[in-house]
Symmetry: C2
Subunit: 202 residues, 2 copies
């Protein structure tokens, strides 16, 4: 959104790009609905960051597919890949449209909030402060799902996104965590990320 | 897709329409990816049925919003509703684009299947045959999640869709069930729907 640079061709696995586009587009929908439900500009901005990432991936995928196609048979075989990629891109654009409502301060009509209210689990975005106990911890060791009922669904590290991080992923200072959980659980995660003491009830 | 009829204005709760559009569009994404992954035309056809439903809901929502808006202030307040509805419609269209690949027998490239293979839980579509033990049972009483590890995410009853059915929903003859679960669990559900004996291990 904010910076525009020429996207240059890189030879890159089409399978990896497609998987990343699919994973990101699914997270974006949840983020966008949560941004609308809670009128949360931070979440909406993350949606816009992800949309930019999906656009970049889409260009890379299309360039790689064009280079891979040598004849009509190749082109026919590859068309399903481009179609699926275009569909994930459409989903990403739809999520961004919802996020823009929040960022443009158009105001979310109460009916939208009521229609979405069934979402029991909330999403948050928290920045891991330098003093936080989360720093340098493996996600698997933190076991946040069992401890506080919260699931980290994505990490943004400056411009790099890690969707659905694995147990061996190590949290670093200034990571942006996107997490899902009960209202109480996510408040605990927020406190932990901000370096506050958190009492975990047994 | 197959039949076209004029959609007439009905006064209907905008909140209910929006919620249904959101719920359906989310189920459609899962269905479309599963249809592509397993090259399953039955699932793809259900996606197309749902797309038709979302289109109808979209018309009804827009008509109701237009009638509700009396002045510029109303129109501004209502625009977020139309934008969110349009976004769910875009998501629905994207899912339909994927489903069409399966129905047009374009062939799903192996890379698409590999990119999606991480989906451990499969979706199926089964028709409840008249002799099945599922007939006239409450979903809550069947307790399929605990018994065979399967979750019914939608029911289609002729043209009516019940998304995320509640525990007190009663399954009827000829219901089309869309369910999610492990490969073994869904084979058990298929057998139950077809009226075969199923041994549930303790």
């Amino acid at each position: 959104m904010t910076h525009l640079e020429k996207i240059r061709y890189k030879p890159i696995s089409v399978k990896k790009i497609l998987r990343e586009m699919k994973d990101i587009s699914e997270v974006m929908i949840d983020l966008a609905y949560s941004a609308a439900l809670f009128n949360n500009a931070d979440l909406a901005r993350e949606v816009m960051e992800l949309e930019e990432r999906v656009d970049t991936l889409s260009y890379l995928l299309n360039m790689n597919a064009m280079i891979a196609a040598r004849d009509a048979g190749d082109a026919e075989a590859l068309i399903s890949i481009l179609t699926v990629a275009a569909a994930t891109n459409e989903i990403s654009d739809a999520a961004a449209d919802i996020a823009k409502l929040v960022l443009l301060e158009i105001g979310i009509h109460p009916i939208v909030r009521e229609a979405f209210r069934r979402i029991e689990e909330q999403l948050i975005r928290v920045v891991v402060k330098p003093g936080s106990k989360l720093v340098n911890k493996r996600i698997g060791d933190l076991d946040l799902a069992a401890q506080i009922g919260v699931d980290i669904i994505a990490i943004r590290r400056v411009k790099k996104w890690i969707i659905d991080p694995k147990d061996d992923e190590v949290i670093r200072e200034n990571d942006v965590l996107i997490a899902r959980g009960s209202p109480m659980g996510i408040e605990k995660l927020r406190a932990m990320a901000e370096g506050k003491e958190v009492v975990i009830e047994e």
